[in-house]
Structures are given as C-alpha cells and as structure tokens.
C-alpha cells in the first residue's frame, strides 16, 4: 500500500473558454454599470456620484428600466415551487425549523406534512406532542417551497409521496448557483443510484429503492444494509459532483451522468486529484457540447 505524495504547485485558474458568456455582462463590486440616470436600481447595485455601480460580483440583468445584478456566489434565494433538501434544526410548537443554506431557516408547518397513515384530518394537540416521532433534529428531508414570508424565510411542504424524510444516502453540499432549474429534480440514474438535486445546493445521493414505498406518506426509512456495489456507485457519483463543482460546471442529470461515464476508468479515490478532475471535466464538457451541436 503506497501513499501518494506531491509538492505543492500553483493551481491553474478555471478557464472560461467553453462557456458562451457575454463578457460585458459580468461585473465585480465597484464596476460602473451605466452613467445614465434614467434607470431604476435593483438588487446588487448602488448609486455612487450619479453613476450606477455594482455591489456584488455577478451578471447584470436588465428588465426595461430596472437594472439588477444577480450574484454568482450567494445563499439560496427560494422561489415558490423549488425542491429543497434540508436538515431539521429545531422542533417548535406546530412547526419544524429546517436549515436550507438560505439567509433564514425555513419553516415546515405541521399542517404541511402528510401524517403517517395518510389520513387527512385536523391536527390535534396529540399530533403536536408526537411531532418528534416523525421528524427529529438532525433528520434530512426533501420538500417543496410553498410560499415565501415577507422577511424572506421559506415555508416548505411535503404534501406529496415523493417528498419526506430521507433514509440512507450521501449528502453533498454545493453552491446553489450551480444547480440548473429543470422540470424534475428527482433522477433515477442508469448507473444504479438515484439523485435529488435540491435547488438550494444540497444534493442527495441514495441507492435506488426496488419497489415504490406506498405506505406512511414518506416517513418510513429503510434501514436494510446497502450492498458494496451500490456504495461504490454512490461514492463515485459524489466525487464526480465535487469535481464538477470545483470546475464550476452547471449541474443537471445529463452533466452528472456524462461525468460518471468519463470517470469509469479511474479509481474512485483518484477522481479527487486535481489533474484527474480537470481531465474528467474536460471530457464531460466536450460531450455536452457535442450533444448540443
């Protein structure tokens, strides 16, 4: 068993050659966007001596007379309909507080969950007292954003069989800007694992369940031992996700799948080495371009 050691080398910056960015749109804090005073200023901008300047690093978006800067590295700003993966931090009266990588903890109301057994009934005082039996501090859940409070906190709901408490799997925490908005965020990958790409940057990898769980509305978690081949697939997927995130590639099911296929002839632990990461991500980007063109 040999240990691999190397001297420190200067890291190469991530190249933007493959992206179709319009360079004029990217700004850094302090850049002047325009000197025209006819525009309204939106988020991420401020007025400095009659000139509109950016206060965050990101791309400029213009809607008629409104100019705002959408930052590249930011906390999760949720919108109605987003799928999130979160961790329960507190159990309060009639609701749970969920951590979703946003500015404030999100709220999961007791009336927004499916009770085990699937009955539709009025939540009683007894339900309130047994909240901890359903979801405890430290549990992971997948949920959808129902609404946004006036202070920016999100209100979540799990009123569908596909949402609920998550069982055995691996959580990967990434930046929310890297997750592409798609029609569905639940993917069953052909390599043998399933993935939930939360809009808040939390990605959940888990072994594909054999049969659909119809009972208990998503609170039943299977504790059966996971086979070694499934574990290997999930570890490889996790390393691929970290490689894609390090090279700032947009994450969606096709890109993750291509990255997995490109990494097959490397060992799982080698994927985390910088030169192997670059090679795999370059192959992935080429495959994505070929598919588009």
């Amino acid at each position: 068993m040999a240990a691999d050691m190397r001297l420190p080398t200067i890291q190469k910056p991530v190249s933007l050659t493959f992206s179709a960015f319009d360079r004029k749109d990217l700004v850094v804090p302090g850049d002047v966007i325009t000197s025209d005073t006819g525009f309204m200023r939106g988020h991420g901008t401020y007025v400095d001596e009659e000139k509109l300047t950016a206060s965050v690093a990101g791309e400029v978006q213009r809607v008629d007379k409104l100019i705002c800067v959408k930052p590249l590295k930011t906390r999760f700003n949720g919108e109605v309909g987003d799928v999130v993966v979160g961790r329960i931090t507190e159990v309060q009266q009639k609701r749970w507080k969920v951590e979703t990588n946003s500015r404030l903890d999100s709220v999961l109301l007791l009336s927004s969950v499916n009770l085990p057994g699937g009955e539709l009934r009025r939540r009683s005082a007894e339900d309130e007292l047994t909240m901890r039996e359903y979801l405890q501090e430290g549990d992971l859940i997948s949920a959808e954003v129902q609404s946004v409070f006036s202070d920016g906190a999100l209100s979540l709901h799990t009123r569908s069989l596909k949402y609920g408490k998550l069982g055995q799997g691996v959580l990967v925490q990434l930046s929310p800007s890297l997750i592409k908005r798609q029609k569905t965020h639940f993917h069953n990958l052909p390599c043998g694992a399933s993935m939930i790409l939360g809009n808040n940057g939390f990605v959940w990898l888990y072994p594909t369940p054999e049969q659909l769980e119809e009972e208990a509305g998503g609170f039943y978690t299977s504790l059966e031992p996971v086979s070694v081949s499934d574990r290997e697939v999930i570890s490889r997927l996790r390393n691929c996700l970290l490689a894609l995130a390090a090279q700032k590639v947009l994450l969606f099911d096709t890109s993750v799948l291509y990255c997995y296929e490109s990494s097959v002839h490397h060992q799982v632990k080698d994927i985390l080495k910088p030169e192997v990461m670059e090679e795999i991500v370059m192959l992935t980007q080429q495959k994505l371009l070929d598919q588009e063109g």
Partner: protein, 209 residues
C-alpha cells in the same frame, strides 16, 4: 502552536487555545525522546552549550486529521533546517567565545531518519478509517493516535474522543497504523530529496495557490 482564524471561525481570538495546548502536549510527547532526533549532533561543547530546537506550527486550514499533517510538516521542516557551524575559541580571560560562521552555506543538517510520523485512526461503527476528513471525524466516537518511525516501531500511542475502544480492535488498529505509518516515510523522504535537488529551480507556492 498558534491557530490562524483562516482555518475556522472558531479559532478567532482565544478559541483555538484548548485544542492548541492538547496538540502541543501530544506532539511534545511524540518528539521528545532521544531516538527521534539525534540530540548529540546538537551539542556545541560538551556539558556547556548546545542548540535547543523549537518548532512553531501555524495552522492555516483545518479539514480533520491535524496530527498526521502536522507530523509530516514537522519532519519536512526539520529536514530543511540548516544550523550554522559554530567555532569556539578561548578568550583572554579564559572564557569561551562562540563564533557563528558567516558563510550561509556552511551549515549542519539534521538527520531526520528516525523522526516519527503520526497516524490517526478513527473508529467508525465496527471498522476504522485512516486520514479522516472533518465530516468523517464527526461520525466517529473515538480515535487512536499512533506515532510510527520508518522502521515500524511505535513511539507513542494516545486515545482521544469520548467513545470506548475494544481491546481487540485496539490491537487491529495498531497493526494497521504501523503498516500505514511505515508506508508514509519512504515517499516523503524521496520527495524531500527531490525538492532539495531542484535547488533554485523550485517554484515558491504560497498558501493561496
């Protein structure tokens, strides 16, 4: 053993002191025996003067497995240390005068063959993990710290963590730790000698890359 607040916000101000004292005590126990570093080579004049070695470690980034990384860094730093040669001449009043040689290349190098490397084994469930990241360490209840020399001899063992370790599992862990520790020394020495041979051509890389 100062901790930079770069590593985690917890280390700001005096936050890292407890961890720092624990680390320096363990490192002192590991390195402070006559077999690790040849202390006789540090002697200037028998019974009167000798060099005292101090090692300062500044932690810039923390992702678990501190002991292993620090021990490798200490071994590399000791390999690189150049101690200037000292000439002792007799003074007029009979006292000894110590002169350091002015030539920057006239120096004594330390023999770091026997300096041990630390291996940390974390117990997760029924198995143990070597080189655990911060997330993996959060899942383990107890860990065993073993310092191993290049021949495979164990110089120091310590258990950290609140959990308990089965005596049989301790034996397995020490065997695994010995194997891993032995395997660490050869590539490290090879790499250090390679870096030495690069001389002026070696590129200087800072912390920010």
């Amino acid at each position: 053993m100062p901790f930079s607040a770069n590593a985690t916000p917890e280390f700001e101000g005096r936050g890292g002191e407890e961890l720092g004292t624990e680390l320096s005590n363990t490192l002192y126990k590991v390195f402070n025996n006559k077999h690790s570093v040849d202390l006789k080579s540090l002697c200037i004049s028998a019974g009167e003067h000798c060099w005292v070695l101090y090692v300062d470690v500044l932690l810039l980034q923390c992702d678990g497995n501190l002991y292993d990384a620090i021990s490798v860094a200490i071994k590399a730093a000791l390999f690189n240390t150049k101690i200037p040669r000292v000439h002792i001449s007799a003074d007029e009043e009979g006292g000894k005068e110590i002169e350091l040689s002015d030539d920057p290349y006239d120096c004594v190098r330390l023999n770091v063959e026997n300096v041990p490397c630390i291996v940390t084994l974390c117990k997760v469930g029924h198995r143990h993990v070597v080189d655990a990241t911060l997330q993996e360490k959060a899942c383990s209840v107890a860990s065993l710290i073993i310092s191993v020399t290049h021949k495979g001899t164990i110089t120091c063992t310590r258990k950290v963590g609140g959990g308990s370790l089965d005596p049989e599992s301790i034996f397995e862990m020490t065997e695994a730790g010995k194997r891993v520790g032995k395997a660490l020394h050869a590539p490290l020495m090879k790499l250090l000698q390679e870096e030495e041979s690069l001389g002026k051509a070696r590129q200087k890389v800072g912390f920010l890359g």
